[in-house]
Symmetry: C2
Subunit: 309 residues, 2 copies
């Protein structure tokens, strides 16, 4: 097994990360964070969400956020769960949209208040409409290795949701271990099953570090050819199902691992660390990234000190 020469990182901190933080950042600060992440070399960034600001106040004014970011070699994606969200995304000039399905029936009902089938029917309309406007759609699948309500999830269910999302026109599916319970072998086997129905370059992996398994899972998936990895700067977001535990894998930790293995990412670790330090300062929290913690300790500084770049 050999690793890909180059891996694309999809930075999800400004959406998946920030929407799970207690502090709500202004559109200006969110735009500044996105700009700093772009300057660090991240060219795919999830920038916000067009959902009800009552339900997710952290993502309010995503349109203003997008308007403030200069887009140069940068694809900004937003969550658009329905036709209304899509209209707002199109009008805000999103480069890409994302829809969010689950591999667990119970999680789907509790999280987006409909069955998997109902969600897929709705997304089919959203994706078709987006494509009419030349906007690509990404499909997320949550709970691919376990569900907080149902426990273990059979990979067959992941395969069928992935097939449905790709058939309706999603250019990529992101397989999310939402509660971070998976270990490398399972993660790899699940990806291999999905890879039987989807080309590998349409498969992204999205791991959470709740049980510390994220990097090992990523490595195991890279070994079978996955080359798109989601991550969140400074590990922003935490775990909604275990407050206090780690959440999204930190982009710094992913970039460090890839850089040390000579896998190209196009990302400057120093600039990324500085962007993460900026976010943590605004959120008044410490980074969950082990790399950020180690650099801060080595520099004799606190986690919130900018570390370079």
């Amino acid at each position: 097994m050999s690793l890909p020469v180059r891996v694309s990182i999809v930075e999800v901190g400004p959406r998946d990360g920030l929407q799970n933080e207690k502090v709500t950042l202004s559109p200006q600060i969110r735009a500044e964070l996105i700009s700093r992440l772009a300057a660090a070399g991240l060219s795919r960034i999830e920038a916000g969400s067009f959902v009800s600001p009552k339900a997710v106040p952290q993502m309010a004014h995503t349109d203003a956020t997008l308007a403030l970011v200069v887009r140069d070699n940068l694809r900004l994606s937003v969550l658009a769960p329905n036709l209304r969200g899509l209209a707002a995304a199109l009008s805000a000039g999103a480069d890409e949209i994302a829809v969010f399905a689950a591999a667990s029936e119970t999680f789907s009902k509790r999280n987006i208040h409909c069955s998997i089938e109902e969600s897929l029917a709705r997304y089919a309309e959203v994706v078709a409409e987006a494509r009419r406007y030349g906007v690509m759609a990404r499909g997320y699948i949550s709970c691919v290795l376990g569900c907080p309500y149902e426990g273990e999830i059979d990979s067959g269910r992941v395969v069928s949701v992935a097939s449905a999302l790709l058939e309706m026109g999603c250019f990529e599916v992101s397989l999310g271990d939402t509660i971070g319970v998976g270990a490398p072998l399972q993660a790899r086997r699940m990806v291999e099953r999905v890879a039987r129905v989807a080309p590998l370059d349409k498969i992204a992996v999205h791991f959470h570090d709740t049980y510390g398994q994220a990097l090992a899972n990523i490595f195991a998936c890279l070994e079978v050819g996955v080359c798109v990895v989601d991550s969140s700067v400074a590990g922003l977001g935490g775990c909604p199902f275990a407050p206090g535990a780690a959440g999204n894998v930190a982009t710094e930790d992913v970039v460090y691992m890839l850089e040390r293995m000579d896998v190209e990412t196009g990302v400057s670790l120093d600039r990324l660390l500085a962007a993460g330090a900026f976010a943590c300062r605004e959120l008044k929290r410490a980074p969950a990234s082990r790399v950020a913690q180690a650099y801060a300790a080595r520099c004799g500084g606190r986690a919130e000190t900018p570390l370079g770049g």
Copy 2:
């Protein structure tokens, strides 16, 4: 690449962990911790060190610690850097001793105040004498993937130190990434080079989580047949070269990964979490283990709450 059916965990928390903690625990508490770890199913435990108590006060009275532990299906190992340490180890009834060499010349001089060659000459005497008493000796090698003073370390240097340790009669070499800088590919390549001169069952890996790479490194090494892994309950020890950063990989995180991949360890995760919670309570610190943090968060309790078993 397939994983080993069973992995032996060498628990280093009571020595490598505790010697790097600010709080010094009494021999009674250390013995209690060792007993709890043994009750969790860990059968190889590094229990202390026969070095100067002035240099390492945390390890003073290792003899008293050993005397307090009931040994049933349990191998207790101690660091014995010279013949005097060995005599003390033999008289305390250690089941196994360990010597501590480096793959970096500068690290050897700064850490144990002699060249690699001088250290190996001394250890040859210690190991030979231990074997005369029927006591097995383990050889540690530090800085196998990087040195805080010299930077990158060529694997060829690891190979020659490993060969020397095995030739002098060590039953096993533990390859330590002391500052946690290595990533999975390098870790695996280094192990593969050592495996050309040593049988795989004589090679243990010892990773630090400073940059979050430890579990990924372990997974990559298991894939090439390594089946002995060092780890420290609750991630005790931290990183002496970056205070505030993570240190030894946490045993809980290793056991979680192996258990989820159906690799046998003989360890009860619940009992292990309880032992880690006990240690953290005594040390007045939070566990560095992501698994311990997630379980504590899930239980709605604080990190120091015993979590089961």
